[in-house]
């Protein structure tokens, strides 16, 4: 069983929801990333989503774009990100790691080359924002050979036909984008998310995570009531951005711990 499947099964047995924090590899500086990953696990992350820096992150808001720019200033590329995962795996063989990024860095590395290296370094899944199911057959084949899950996004506007298409191809879990817009945007309609998840579950049998726009413990716990996993990105990056370098670890730790607490409360109430 894959690490992701095992993680969700264990969570399910304990009646808990998954917390998936997102950080950008190399932000605020490369040597912090593995430390941050371990700390995230210590304070309750079930899965880690690691952003691969890209120069033109079209689907992200300004907060995550700035984190990419900080990482790119330190020349952090896809192969460095893979090395960071390998480093993390030296002492953690349990927590799944998902790479989230854009198509061009993997185009430049080559699909086959990427899949081989990613497996070797201990990557569990990949979410490539600008590879919709229609454009990535060859890519999926390469990932499958190395047992790396392909995670897909669904949005409030995704048509029924495409939900079915994604249901066929998606592995690990499905990532539901809870609002129209880019990562870190403000508006969030809980009722709409609830209705949409009910509808999506009629097609999708694997877990559903919700992300984009979860910015505090209130939204985090509300989403935990509905979804199998809560993804928090921009809020964490914001904390990294505004912290002094020697306080990054502590501040992120406190933030994620509070998110964990909020989510646990929900799980226990049910």
């Amino acid at each position: 069983m894959s690490r992701i499947a095992a993680t969700f099964r264990a969570l399910n047995q304990n009646n808990r929801k998954a917390l998936i924090p997102f950080i950008t590899a190399g932000d605020p500086e490369p040597k912090m990333t593995v430390l941050l990953m371990h700390e995230l696990v210590n304070v309750g992350a079930d899965i880690i989503e690691l952003g691969v820096p890209f120069s033109d992150p079209m689907a992200d808001g300004p907060i995550i774009q700035r984190s990419y720019e900080r990482a790119l200033k330190c020349h952090v590329g896809l192969k460095d990100v893979l090395e960071m995962v390998a480093e993390f795996r030296k002492t953690n063989t349990v927590t799944p790691v998902i790479l989230m990024g854009y198509a061009n860095p993997v185009e430049a590395m080559g699909y086959q080359n990427f899949a081989v290296k990613a497996e070797m370094c201990g990557v569990d899944a990949v979410l490539t924002v600008d590879y919709p199911p229609e454009e990535c057959e060859e890519w999926l084949k390469c990932l499958k050979q190395k047992k790396i899950d392909a995670i897909f996004l669904l949005s409030p506007t995704t048509s029924e036909l495409r939900v079915k298409e994604v249901a066929k191809k998606a592995q690990g879990f499905v990532y539901y984008v809870s609002l129209k817009g880019v990562t870190g945007a403000g508006h969030f309609d809980l009722k709409e998310v609830a209705d949409k998840l009910t509808y999506l579950r009629s097609y999708i049998s694997i877990p559903i995570g919700v992300g984009f726009g979860i910015h505090d413990i209130v939204t985090a716990s509300a989403v935990a009531e509905l979804a199998d996993a809560v993804v928090v990105g921009s809020r964490i990056i914001e904390e990294i951005e505004k912290s002094d370098k020697n306080k990054v670890l502590m501040n992120v730790s406190n933030l994620v711990r509070s998110l964990r607490k909020a989510i646990n409360k929900v799980s226990l109430e049910h």
């Binding site: 079209m58 774009q65 506007t157």
Partner: protein, 400 residues
């Protein structure tokens, strides 16, 4: 094999290029756009309205002008200019902006957004927004806003909101990212007018179709006025919309050579250029697969050209395909060569060309002396150069 003029296929592919490489959040909007465009491109009323607008508002057809003094000075092939600079707003960009704005109107959208580099597409979009009574927001890199101040003012005069983009390299590619983000967020009431033949399907096809009026007119005018078609078509290529507009109707005319001229900036070997097809590698950016100027990690590299309109690290996917199939040839012209051609056209023909178009002119001037006097070179004079006079005076001085 598919005929060149039948592409893209239904998925928006030109061979291995093009396609729809966007986040899920945009997919449905693009599907809706494709359905609506398919409907209106075959709708006689829509096409009639578009043709009327081109005639009465844009001032088409634009003439073909024989640059006799320039040709005599160069001493070789005859240089003919397709005068897109005479269009309303001073460039070919309006052909596409009118088409997409009409489509937006028919789709019931009340707001249009656009990205712009040199500002020509921004001005064209602001113009058609005013013409049709729509709200208009234009995204422009803050670096470009400095380079193209008069166009920023022009857009504001026309009632548009110009939003400076401070991320990344602060140029066209970043403006495009920002416009995409706006579109994702406001897709219900907003139509995104992309200015070049890039972006996700159906944009490269749709922009080409609206720009193809250039080549269709040229074909008729050449037959009427010269009794034959030109030997070579020459056009500058940034994203490549003016070039594809001229080339497309000629794709099956195998006797007509096509030459796309990229910005070689300070020289290819300097690394400071925007010659995507000459130096780039295929990859994925802004919704399509195409040649890109990128580093070995797949990060997009900042480009350089004296002409803001050519300063783009990608290129339309159809050009990528025309290059790979050898149907078109792509060459580079440096900033200095473009500037020299700019001055030459001013002095020999009394026409101030856009710096973008000056790249095409420079290449024509380079090959004309090597060719027979009977040969005809049709250069797309895609825009007028009034917007560039500050850049030119800074580069070459004001002492004459």
């Amino acid at each position: 094999m598919a005929r060149a003029c039948d592409l893209p296929d239904i998925h928006g592919h030109f061979g291995s290029y093009g396609g729809v490489f966007v986040a899920e959040t945009l997919f449905t909007a693009l599907e809706e756009l494709l359905i609506q465009y398919d409907r209106y491109r075959n709708d006689a009323d829509f096409q009639m309205e578009y043709a009327n607008e081109l005639k009465s508002y844009v001032g088409r057809p634009s003439p073909i002008y024989h640059a006799k003094r320039l040709s005599a000075h160069l001493g070789g092939a005859q240089i003919l200019l397709k005068r897109e600079d005479l269009n309303h707003t001073g460039a070919h960009k309006i052909n596409n902006a009118i088409g997409q704005a009409l489509l937006a109107k028919n789709m019931g959208k009340s707001r249009i957004i656009a990205e712009t580099g040199a500002g020509q597409h921004g001005v064209a979009s602001a113009t058609v927004a005013a013409r049709y009574g729509m709200e208009c927001t234009v995204y422009m890199g803050s670096e470009d806003m400095k380079r193209q101040e008069p166009n920023v003012y022009r857009m504001r005069l026309l009632g548009a909101t110009v939003v400076p983009v401070d991320s990344g390299s602060k140029t066209l590619k970043d403006a495009l990212n920002e416009a995409m983000r706006d579109w994702v967020t406001n897709v219900e009431n907003t139509f995104y007018i992309i200015g070049t033949v890039a972006g996700p399907h159906p944009y490269p096809m749709m922009v080409r179709d609206f720009q193809a009026i250039i080549g269709r007119e040229a074909k008729l005018q050449m037959q009427e006025e010269y009794g034959r078609q030109p030997d070579k078509l020459i056009a500058c290529v940034g994203g490549g919309s003016n070039a594809i507009g001229l080339f497309f109707p000629y794709l099956e005319d195998k006797n007509v050579d096509m030459i796309g001229v990229e910005a070689a900036g300070l020289g290819i070997e300097s690394g400071k250029h925007a010659a995507t097809l000459l130096t780039g590698k295929p990859g994925v950016l802004h919704g399509n697969r195409t040649y890109l100027i990128q580093d070995e990690d797949g990060q997009i590299i900042e480009t350089h050209s004296i002409s803001a309109g050519l300063d783009y690290p990608g290129v339309g996917p159809e050009h990528a395909w025309l290059k790979d199939t050898n149907r078109a040839q792509y060459v580079g012209v440096t900033d200095d060569e473009a500037l020299a051609a700019f001055h030459m056209l001013c002095r020999y023909e009394g026409i101030i060309p856009a710096l973008e178009s000056s790249h095409a002119l420079a290449y024509a001037a380079k090959i004309s002396p090597t060719l027979d006097k009977e040969k005809l070179l049709l250069v797309n004079l895609s825009g007028r150069g009034d917007k560039d006079i500050d850049t030119v005076s800074q580069a070459t001085g004001t002492i004459f």
